[in-house]
């Protein structure tokens, strides 16, 4: 540092100028509850399940790295007399989910029957057990526990 | 090692990607000249649809031969897979061989050190070292030493200081003691932890560690009470 730098403190004033310029800039803050950013189309959020499309292959449960998808099914004769798998249970232990999306990738149906691209991320609940196991009802039909965003159908945003 | 056939650019102009067998090339000058990378030789087309990579014998490699000659009895075998040479060393000659590699062959950088548990094999463990030479065109060699369960492996922390924590980690997770290590304590698990998690017989779901969180609720010695339904079975 030269003598003049020590006397005039140019670096000090330079720094002050830098922050001073920002004083007049518009804040970048997004004030969250009032002004929420819309997530991107590929955003991995809350699960959605289409029970009609699901073929109960349990590939999603197999592929889940932390084994949080629980599927039970049994065979039932449908009106045509054919055996058909009927879902007993489709639970996701949401509190452990890390939203990696591997279940969606593993799903063999087209369009997928389980998908995460729902843009819904406000998953907080007041009761621990509300978030623990999301049963079929919650996965297929969101009730007031989960604030629905614009529901994105599988296939969009690809 | 370092050069998988598919990764080796065709043009020798590309810096630091030289043939592993090439004699010592000086390290690149500090600011890598932009020109060196600019020509950007296109990579060769995909290698012929070879069958799955398989190990080949590498006893003939110059480095292996040199090591075997310099430290007699140290090399038990060598093989090459996906362009990476592995030398199997005799435990008794490990430190000597490492010292030779570092001092004479300029492998100054110990990249990593770990172990593999082969469970039924005798000896049970392999301790694996990677060494790197900046002066030999970024050549890398992997060293392997077989260690029996309960036996001690000689420490290389006197050769490369960085081996200190890596050996502690292996000791912690595999239970392989390192003879002559200056500070052989557990590092990732806590002092007093029982068991070595990366051994194949250690249960994935964990064990009852006996850590007392609520001394008034749980019996002496800690952990869930024997009749607690949350208690996990200790395997």
């Amino acid at each position: 540092m030269s003598f003049w730098d020590n006397v005039l403190l140019l670096d000090i004033f330079g720094g002050l100028k830098m922050t001073g310029r920002h004083f007049f800039r518009k804040a970048d803050t997004v004030e969250y509850p009032e002004a929420a950013r819309e997530p991107s189309d590929r955003f991995r959020g809350m699960f959605r399940l289409d029970e009609e499309r699901c073929i109960k292959c349990t590939l999603c449960a197999i592929e889940c790295p932390i084994n949080i998808i629980f599927i039970d099914w049994h065979n039932e004769k449908n009106p045509q007399g054919k055996n058909e798998k009927v879902l007993d249970r489709f639970d996701v232990d949401l509190k452990r989910c890390m939203f990696c999306g591997l279940c969606e990738e593993a799903c063999p149906t087209n369009p997928k029957s389980i998908w995460l691209r729902t843009k819904t991320y406000e998953l907080g609940t007041y009761e621990r057990n509300d978030a623990l196991y999301l049963d079929i009802k919650k996965l297929t039909k969101w009730d007031e526990n989960v604030k629905p965003f614009a529901v994105v159908e599988q296939g969009e945003g690809r | 090692m370092a050069e998988d056939p598919k990764d080796a650019p065709a043009a020798p102009a590309a810096p630091a990607a030289g043939d592993p067998a090439a004699p010592a090339a000086p390290p690149k000058p500090a600011p890598a000249p932009a020109a060196a990378a600019a020509p950007a030789a296109p990579k060769p087309a995909a290698p012929p649809k070879a069958a799955a990579p398989a190990p080949t014998d590498a006893m003939g490699e110059p480095l292996v031969a040199a090591l075997a000659a310099a430290v007699p009895g140290s090399v038990l075998g060598a093989k090459k897979m996906v362009g990476q040479t592995t030398i199997e060393l005799a435990p008794g000659k490990l430190v000597e061989a490492c010292r030779h590699l570092k001092d004479a062959e300029t492998f100054t950088f110990l990249v990593d050190l770990t172990a593999i548990d082969w469970k039924e094999r005798v000896p049970r463990f392999d301790v694996v070292y990677w060494v790197h030479s900046f002066d030999r065109g970024n050549e890398r060699v992997r060293l392997k030493v077989g260690v029996a369960d309960g036996a001690a492996c000689p420490t290389v922390s006197g050769v490369w200081e960085t081996a200190n924590w890596m050996e502690r980690e292996v000791f912690d997770l595999f239970g392989i003691a390192f003879e002559g290590h200056p500070d052989l304590r557990r590092i990732l698990t806590w002092d007093g932890f029982q068991g070595h998690p990366l051994r194949k017989d250690f249960p994935v779901e964990g064990i009852d560690t006996g850590a007392a969180i609520y001394p008034d609720r749980y019996p002496e010695g800690g952990g869930p009470a024997p009749d607690d339904k949350n208690r996990k079975a200790v395997s």
Binding site: M1, S2, W4, D5, V7, L8, L10, I12, G15, L16, M18, T19, G20, H22, F23, R25, K26, A27, D28, T29, E31 | A30, P31
Partner: protein, 397 residues
């Protein structure tokens, strides 16, 4: 002077003033915390607290309520009595100095039933008020040291020790800077110093440019603010001397820090920026500025200093302890000694001498600034002692 008047002059008015000062200072310190958070937020392209009350103005009330109702945790092995006394020892001097701060000139008002009354915008004018001020502020150090020691925590102890060394060291250049103002005004009374700036036809910032810098830098250090906030350096000592304080005792430390900021700024205003005087106090053409009362001028000037405090906080990293000491002892004290001699010589020449000194200082400073910045306009930064790694700057097109 009859009895009722002397009661009024010596008991009632001081009592009222004391209460008003304490309440105002406590509130001002609270508001200052809010202002600081907002200002910092603006410097950092964010919004800051804006939820409680309109634009968040009641945030400090919410904070105070929260702190009052919080559990007061005392470490098990703390020295309880001293741990309890330390915040008091910090707060009392912090508030006491406000007695001598001259916020405005004397004025006369008419009180129904009592007749005309002459009083002033300050609690009292002691003829050695500067001395009193320096003496009282020094007492606050004891609270910090004792608080750090009594907490029985190593971090608090380190913070207290740092604080002791720092405050004592920076008292010295601060004292010298104050002395130079005293020399210029030939009085120890703050009120007289302010009035002297009117009789000298200039603010003392003109001849006292260097003194002011010294005073302000030492003041920042005295109030433990960035870049000198070592006693409570968050990233090093967790919270320094008040690590083990919580609830309202912590709030007392906190509020006193802000009260001290106000004190330092107010004294700087009185010493160097003409106190309650308007700019160019003797230029008749600007007399319309007299419509704004002196108190407002004073508050405006103090606010500017407080803004600079916050601006500093938003800009600078923190010194290391030994560097701070080196700065104090090796840089500020020698400069302040030389400065003191210069000012004393100039003061010998009366107010003519002071004017010459001021002219030399300002011309030299502005000239050097212009020349050096012009010279460096081409280079963004001078090539400094630091190494320039390949491609550190301007490597890409």
């Amino acid at each position: 002077m009859d009895i009722s008047e002397s009661v009024l002059t010596w008991v009632l008015i001081p009592a009222v003033k004391a209460v008003v000062v304490v309440v105002l200072v406590a509130t001002a310190a609270g508001v200052l915390t809010y202002i600081e958070r907002r200002t910092l937020a603006f410097l950092q392209v964010r919004k800051g607290p804006n939820r409680v009350g309109p634009e968040g103005i009641l945030q400090f009330v919410a904070d105070v309520v929260k702190l009052l109702t919080k559990e007061d945790v005392v470490p098990a092995k703390a020295r309880h009595v001293i741990h309890f006394l330390a915040p008091v020892l910090v707060m009392v001097p912090g508030l006491a100095v406000f007695a001598v701060l001259p916020w405005g000139p004397e004025f006369t008002m008419r009180i129904p039933g009592l007749g005309k009354l002459t009083t002033a915008w300050y609690a009292t004018d002691v003829n050695v008020s500067l001395l009193l001020l320096l003496a009282i502020t020094s007492v606050g150090i004891y609270g910090i040291i004792l608080g750090g020691w009594a907490s029985n925590s190593k971090y608090a102890l380190l913070g207290g020790l740092r604080s002791a060394a720092q405050l004592i060291s920076y008292e010295v250049p601060m004292g010298f800077a104050v002395v130079s103002a005293i020399l210029m005004a030939r009085s120890l009374s703050l009120v007289e110093i302010v009035e002297a700036q009117k009789t000298h036809h200039m603010w003392f910032i003109l001849p006292g440019l260097v003194s002011f810098f010294l005073y302000f830098v030492s003041g920042v250090a005295e109030t433990n603010r960035i870049p000198f906030d070592l006693p409570e350096a968050e990233s090093e000592l967790v919270a320094g001397f008040h690590t083990e304080y919580s609830g309202f005792r912590w709030a007392i430390f906190f509020l006193t820090e802000y009260a001290n900021m106000i004190t330092i700024s107010a004294v700087a205003t009185a010493l160097f920026f003409g106190g309650w005087l308007r700019p160019f106090p003797n230029v008749a053409a600007l007399s319309f500025l007299d419509l704004i009362p002196g108190v407002i001028w004073y508050v405006l000037k103090v606010s500017c200093f407080l803004f600079v405090y916050i601006w500093f906080r938003g800009t600078f990293p923190r010194y290391r302890f030994d560097q701070l000491m080196a700065l104090g002892w090796k840089t500020l004290i020698p400069i302040s000694l030389v400065n003191l001699v210069c000012v004393a010589l100039a003061a010998l020449g009366g107010f003519r001498g002071l004017r010459i000194l001021g002219a030399i200082l300002w011309v030299a400073a502005i000239g050097a600034f212009l020349v050096v910045t012009r010279m460096r306009a081409s280079k963004r930064w001078p090539q400094s002692a630091g190494p320039a790694p390949a491609g550190a700057r301007g490597a890409e097109a």
